[in-house]
Amino acid sequence: MTDLIWLVIALPLLGAVGLLFLGRRLGEPAAGWVASATVVVSFLIALVAAIDFFGGGAGAEPQRVMLFEWIPGLGIDFQLLWDPLSALMTLVVTGVGALIHVYSIGYMHGDARFVRFFSYLNLFIMSMLTLVLGDNFAVLFIGWELVGLSSYLLISFWFEKPSAAAAGKKAFVVNRIGDLGFLVALMLIFATFGSLAFGDVFSRAPDLLKHGGTTATAITLLLLLGAAGKSAQLPLYVWLPDAMEGPTPVSALIHAATMVTAGVYMVARTGALFELAPFSAGVVATVGTVTALYAATIAIGQRDIKRILAYSTISQLGYMFLGVGVAAYVAGTFHLMTHSFFKALLFLGAGSVIHAMAGEQGVWKMGGLRKVLPVTYATMAVAWLAISGIPPFSGFWSKDEILAVTFAKGGWYVALWAVGVVTAGLTAFYMSRLIFLTFWGAPRWDEGVEPHESPSVMTRPLLALAALAAVGGLVNMPWTPALEHFMEPAFAGLHQGHLPSGATSWLLGAISVGAAVIGILYGYRRYVAATLPDETGAGWDLLEQGYRVDDLYGATVVLPGKRVAEAMAFQADAKVLDGAVNGVGAAVKEIAARLKPIQSGLVRSYGAAILLGAVGVLLVMLLRGGGL
């Protein structure tokens, strides 16, 4: 089955291209079902191919599938790697992806570009699978760029809206900054190892890179820059909140569950390099922790349901970075998996709410939806408890594992753990705020809005995700670490972080749960038990605008960049470059004008010139004494 793993990528690609050319004939909703079918089949193939890994032993060894020679001159092949890490990522991408495809059939109903939407979604799935299945940095990079493209296409899917078009552009440009770092890292890797294949690089890294040396640190910091761009970490997170301009299923699939986790995947995949650069690993953990806290504080002040979830995503990605930063690769990817369940669920639920509210996204104009949207409420409540870290829901197990490993590392990392716990409390609070303001209390709807539950094609994916978000964490409980065993071959040979032993573990868990409970209880007191607080002051506005970082970037980066571009366009280009080119032209014209009279059109004057020339040649011959 492993030999057929290329089908996992080929099917969505076929779907994307096929829908682009033939989709109009299929129309709605057949095109959506075709697109969903390709992803479902991909999921099934991946599931069958992954079965070997559950058994352990020889069957669990990573497998490499060579498709074709790509750049023979550099020894780069288009080769796929099938190991537990890529298998887990593939299953998450196709599994959650398939559910979101089905949901989109309901959500995008009646959209003028229904078919194109599914073509783009399939393109995204194909790109993401290329990213996670590539066996060398070049294939990874191709997937990396392709998901950026799909993300751009889907954020600005409703390009008639200027804000959506601008958001797509912003995402693309900010990602470019990270991609530049990634690309330079690839060049450094190639210069050091002479190869981009994962096998070569990771096996020879301990010999060729000095532990803690400059090259190792430079490569890993540049990789981190790339990861921070894709995974919306400080300071490159600004594109993600704006990306909410895209259709909600896109936010769920790309900007919550899958694409934004690519950075986490990349750091986990290159763990062998980060191990040689402890400083960089520390930077990864610190960036993640700071981002988690920072984004959580902004999420508290958001008034748009999708923007709350966007900042929440940034915050949760911070946890994952913390996880892979402290070498808790399994915990990091575990949180990646559970997060993709509950965050996709939250986004799809938010989509269902927005659908019901006829496009209204402000939480202050909702309220009381619990009775009108029972399925949406019940499923979102599961996700709420999961992300808040209430056991036994999935989020608790993964988040707590990351925090526990961080604590066990000691020293500076205890501070990171403390920040993580505070963030957990904030997370529980802002999620409670979202749930209470949306579903509880009295309705604050605009006139004429009559909410109604979404069709079953939308609610069924919600139920499936709710089941996963509820029990997904049980695959890796501290006393039955099934995922840990499953992932073992992928991280073999790495010095991974460990859980603290015995009572400490229980104590840490209790502290996390305590923080979450405090957050929820405070949320209940503030938004349910008393009259609704007034959140309109200048401080709240500052929070809602994300500390006005966009303005800061605008003043410090975008505006000077624009100035330079304008100077280049209207001064350097128009005057210097064009001046040189025009000057050459003018000089030729001038010389030509001077030479023009010679060509009089009178044959006799030409004849005279010939004669004079001949006489001149003869004179030279005579004076020089014969011969030329």
Partner: protein
């Protein structure tokens, strides 16, 4: 006074110069044509003179080629001039600018 090879060369040069001057100064195409013939024959004269001087037949050989080509050129050239004269009632080269020359 003995007539040596140099005299022939001088005569050739004089004839060539007369022909060249005629070509440049006259406007009538027919007269210019005659001037060209004069220049060709001046060259022919210097060819045979030089050939005789050097004891080589190459000079006479070249003259034969020149005469053959000149004869061909005369037939074509005269035909053109006659046709132009019939159409335009003039043979002045300055007025014949129909080809943009």
């Amino acid at each position: 006074m003995e007539v040596t090879g140099g005299w022939y060369m001088a005569l050739g040069a004089v004839l060539f110069s007369i022909g060249a001057a005629g070509l440049l100064l006259r406007r009538n195409a027919l007269v210019m044509f005659m001037s060209i013939e004069l220049m060709l024959n001046a060259v022919n004269l210097s060819f045979v003179a030089a050939g005789n001087e050097l004891g080589s037949l190459d000079g006479q050989l070249a003259v034969l080629f020149v005469m053959v080509v000149a004869a061909a050129e005369v037939t074509v050239g005269l035909a053109i001039i006659v046709m132009v004269f019939r159409r335009r009632a003039t043979a002045s080269v300055d007025e014949l600018s129909g080809m943009g020359g």
